[in-house]
């Protein structure tokens, strides 16, 4: 593990037995796990390179229990790491050796479905896919669809502001929420939003979404649900170069088309996926696009025709539109299996997640090939082409000495490259511990300090998920200090009236 976590508080560790007993008084029965073998499953999340046993695991079932746990930890100065299903790819749920791991898995009920207002009220441990499954009998669905949707929970989606292949058209988690119940580190319970749109004051729901478990613990979430489109078709387009593919993506958007999904794969990813699922991908191309449009039949057919024309104008060497639902799903099967497909050709792979202005793609891919040679590590790329979200998969072997460290350095270089060309460190996986120390590549100290002041408004002692997102932790008192330079010239030469 190459990332330093906050130093364990020995005084907390010394009180471990008393802390476990106190938690047992709040959550009876099997809701408190203190034995090492039973805590093992919680030592890591989707970023398995990082592992740490927590001090204790607690699995509350009610908001009141969460409130009492947090109030107790606040009073006792104990750190808390919240966790949903543990599918984070950035180490957002990595435990702390002196921290309580707060597992929200038992909050797994759907509390209300309100078709008239097109919403569902769910507990945070409900999986993403379960929300859709609960409403699909009436033709509705929940739009954000991260690829871990079978396993990942809505609570985790809120923490990470999760996206998915359809978020270009339908938005990320933050665009699909109406309200939540939030427990602050003090144990206070606040309700944000409701069944109505927008906030009457500050948009605190918007701030909590994507805050990576650093501001509070959500215990109930109100999500918007949408009517399923009547149909969807996809078109599979191969190009001799990524430049041509990039041009095609630009022209699609330039034509006023916002596809439901627009995915790109490079040659290594195409080959790995095709060998794995036999989706019928062309193998003699350098870039492959899958563009999906949805809506009523007339719209879908109209757009497919236009997409085919745009593809031809961008020198597509292969172009096939799905003519049945089976074929559409087959097109996607390869893309959806791209990660495990790469997993078959390499002992390990490391999934990166940066966003770039899409026009810079050829430049970024070229530079990545150079880095690949420098580091002696192969890389395959899948790319949410519509919104510029790039997922390079670095192939490595953890059993070879120092190869993981080399991989991490390669990954960091890729992310710095993303920022350099005008992009960002993470499009949907979050900062977590993984990109924490790269934050200064994107933000100045003033930027990061201002973000931490917001954290102070929610968690004045810095006990909630410390060691994530921010490379340097400051005390709130220090961040709050003002340096007012009294006696300076008033409004030096600013035009005044």
């Amino acid at each position: 593990m190459s990332v330093a976590m906050p130093r364990p508080d020995q005084s907390v560790l010394a009180r471990r037995e008393r802390i476990v007993a106190a938690l047992r008084a709040i959550v009876p029965g099997e809701g408190v796990i203190a034995a090492e073998p039973e805590m093992r499953p919680y030592e890591t999340d989707g970023l398995t390179a990082y592992r740490q046993l927590p001090m204790v695991v607690v699995l509350p079932e009610t908001t009141q229990q969460v409130s009492r746990i947090l109030a107790f930890c606040h009073a006792e100065g104990i750190k808390v790491v919240p966790r949903g299903a543990g599918t984070s790819l950035s180490g957002g749920a990595l435990p702390l050796s002196d921290g309580v791991l707060l597992g929200m898995a038992k909050f797994n009920r759907i509390r209300e479905i309100d078709f008239a207002n097109r919403l569902a009220i769910v507990e945070p441990g409900v999986t993403n896919l379960a929300v859709t499954q609960a409403v699909e009998h009436a033709g509705f669905y929940y739009a954000p669809d991260p690829s871990s949707q079978i396993a990942c929970t809505i609570g985790g989606n809120v923490a990470e502001n999760s996206g998915g292949v359809h978020c270009l058209k339908y938005g990320m988690t933050t665009n699909n929420l109406l309200g939540c119940e939030l427990v602050l580190m003090t144990g206070e319970v606040v309700r944000l939003g409701g069944k109505h749109l927008d906030a009457g004051g500050y948009d605190l729901l918007g701030i909590v979404t994507g805050s990576e478990g650093l501001l509070g613990v959500v215990t109930e979430i109100t999500v918007r649900i949408l009517k399923k489109p009547d149909g969807a078709r996809a078109v599979l387009i191969g190009f001799a170069s990524s430049e041509d593919a990039g041009e095609c993506v630009g022209k699609v958007i330039g034509a006023g088309i916002i596809p439901a999904g627009m995915e790109m794969m490079d040659r290594p990813a195409i080959h790995a996926a095709e060998e794995f699922v036999h989706a019928g991908y062309p193998l003699d191309v350098d870039a492959l696009l899958i563009i999906e449009v949805d809506g009523p039949r007339a719209e879908v057919d109209h757009l497919i025709t236009r997409l085919e024309a745009i593809a031809r104008s961008c020198r597509a060497v292969a172009c096939r539109a799905s003519s049945s639902e089976e074929e559409r799903l087959l097109f996607w099967a390869g893309r959806k299996a791209a990660f495990p497909a790469v997993g078959r050709i390499s002992p390990d792979y490391y999934c990166m997640d940066g966003t770039i202005p899409r026009a810079r793609l050829p430049q970024v891919l070229k530079r990545m090939r150079e880095l690949s040679e420098t580091y002696g590590l192969a890389v395959a790329n899948v790319f949410h082409a519509g919104d510029g979200n790039l997922h390079p998969l670095i192939l490595y072997d953890a059993n070879k000495p120092a190869e993981l460290e080399r991989t991490e350095r390669f990954g960091a270089d890729i992310l710095r490259l993303c920022v350099e060309v005008g992009g960002v460190l993470t499009g949907e996986h979050g900062v977590g511990v993984e990109k924490r120390d790269l934050m200064p590549a994107m933000f100045s100290e003033a930027d990061l300090n201002q973000q931490q002041r917001l954290k102070c408004a929610f968690d004045d002692k810095g006990l909630l998920n410390p060691g994530k997102v921010f490379p340097t932790l400051h005390r709130c008192a220090e961040l709050g200090r003002m340096h007012v330079h009294a006696g300076r010239v008033a409004f030096p030469d600013i035009p005044r009236f």
């Binding site: 996206g163 500050y202 948009d203 719209e299 917001l454």
Partner: protein, 413 residues
């Protein structure tokens, strides 16, 4: 009359806030002043006029992004977007109709800081949903930035959401980046005539729950419909459903929607021109402009409220108000957004409105009332103690000395 400072660039803004801090003065942040009459009346030592911070700094249509200095006129941005077949999907309103003395369409900074969105909110989201990044000067006198210039980004806290709807109480934005979207190829509106509000909400709920992809759903009772300068609206209540998109798609969805709406009442339809005029009128709350035009007697115009509630409860909410006072009401957002006017009276009907909101859920903002009324009552939704305390702590994190737009939203914030 407070001193007005007109910074030329972001550095000037920083210097202005730092100087104000050093002198213990407070600042009102103004763009074009188009929404200046909304909120609690300002009593600041200084006015910070950001209108000279103007100009589009980046526009990449194929990346769907645009950056502009905060004081850039919305009209300039909309014109440039239109030239490239794009638009601001959140349909920011033009306050000139409802607020006396407003001539400007406003600035991009103002549209984002107030998070006011139009009819397409139900489909495309609010201003907040299109706000990608910004540069600002906090009430601490420090320049900071957040977000980025790409449409997908989760790096750090999403401070854009916090700035949207903070009415300049946290920081003075100097430059912003927004997501822009293609302008639909065409639009059409289906009209259903003669419905009572409760029936209209049932009809709009059915439309929104269909796959017709409705991008506007409003109900205008008879006395309101007659005031809409879109033609074909006179002669009874009108429920309007907008469809936008590519021609063949709009045509097919219109056929589907007509079948779905047939049982509810007599159908009519508005072609592209009628549709545009109608939805612009709804966006700008034009039915309540006539009252505002009574400029010979300022202070006597009816108070205007904007209420967001669960769509299915919209008619119930309106009935609760209408039974107790002579309210004029219309509905947008499929019933979830209620615009209503009341006699200004002592409190602009606040007690009545707040009671109904408490019972039914949602929030209400007083958009138009005499300054004396706005100074005396809560203009923004009153908050429960825990949220109010959290709001105050957030304010303190950005503006601990209360320099920026103090008291604009709530006393002490």
């Amino acid at each position: 009359m407070p001193d007005t400072l007109q910074p030329r660039d972001a550095k000037d803004v920083e210097a202005a806030v730092q100087s104000a801090l050093a002198e213990g003065k407070t600042i009102e942040i103004v763009g074009h002043g188009s929404k200046r009459a909304i909120g609690r009346p300002a009593q600041t030592d200084l006015t910070l006029d950001l209108s000279a911070l103007s100009g589009i700094t980046l526009y990449e249509p194929e990346e769907l992004v645009l950056s502009a200095k905060a004081g850039t006129p919305l009209a300039e941005i909309e014109a440039l977007l239109a030239a490239k077949g794009q638009q601001l999907a959140f349909e920011p309103m033009n306050c000139a109709a409802i607020l006396a003395g407003v001539a400007s369409r406003g600035t991009i900074g103002g549209a984002l800081a107030t998070n006011i969105s139009g009819p397409r909110r139900i489909k495309a989201g609010a201003a907040r949903d299109h706000f990608l990044g910004f540069c600002a000067v906090s009430g601490r006198g420090e320049t900071f930035k957040s977000g980025g210039r790409v449409v997908k980004n989760v790096t750090g806290y999403d401070l854009c959401k916090l700035m949207a709807g903070s009415w300049g109480t946290l920081a003075a934005m100097t430059e912003v980046t927004i997501k822009v979207l293609p302008r639909p190829e065409t639009e059409q509106t289906l009209l259903i005539r003669g419905l009572e509000p409760a029936q209209a909400i049932t009809a709009m709920t059915a439309a929104m729950g269909s796959s017709c992809d409705v991008s506007g759903a409003a109900h205008l009772p008879a006395e309101i419909a007659v005031r809409v300068p879109a033609g074909e609206m006179a002669g009874g209540a009108v429920t309007a459903l907008r469809l936008e998109g590519f021609l063949p798609s709009v045509a097919e969805r219109m056929r589907m929607l007509e079948v779905l709406m047939q049982p509810f009442g007599e159908l009519g339809s508005g072609d592209e021109m009628v549709s545009r005029r109608l939805w612009t009128a709804i966006r700008d709350v034009a039915p309540f402009a006539a009252e505002a035009s009574n400029r010979s007697a300022p202070g006597h115009e009816r108070a205007l409220w904007r209420v967001s509630t669960a769509p299915s409860r919209g008619a119930e909410f309106a009935a609760a108000i209408a039974n107790a006072a002579h309210a004029h009401i219309f509905y947008d957002w499929a019933g979830g957004l209620i615009w209503l006017t009341l006699e200004p009276g002592q409190d602009a009907g606040a007690a009545l409105i707040r009671r109904a909101v408490t019972a039914i859920g949602g929030h209400a903002t007083l958009i138009r009332a005499p300054a004396s009324v706005r100074a005396a009552i809560d203009v923004f939704a009153p908050q429960d103690p825990a949220v109010a305390a959290l709001t105050k702590r957030v304010k303190d994190g950005f503006d601990p000395k209360g320099v920026l737009n103090p008291g604009r939203m709530w006393a002490g914030v």
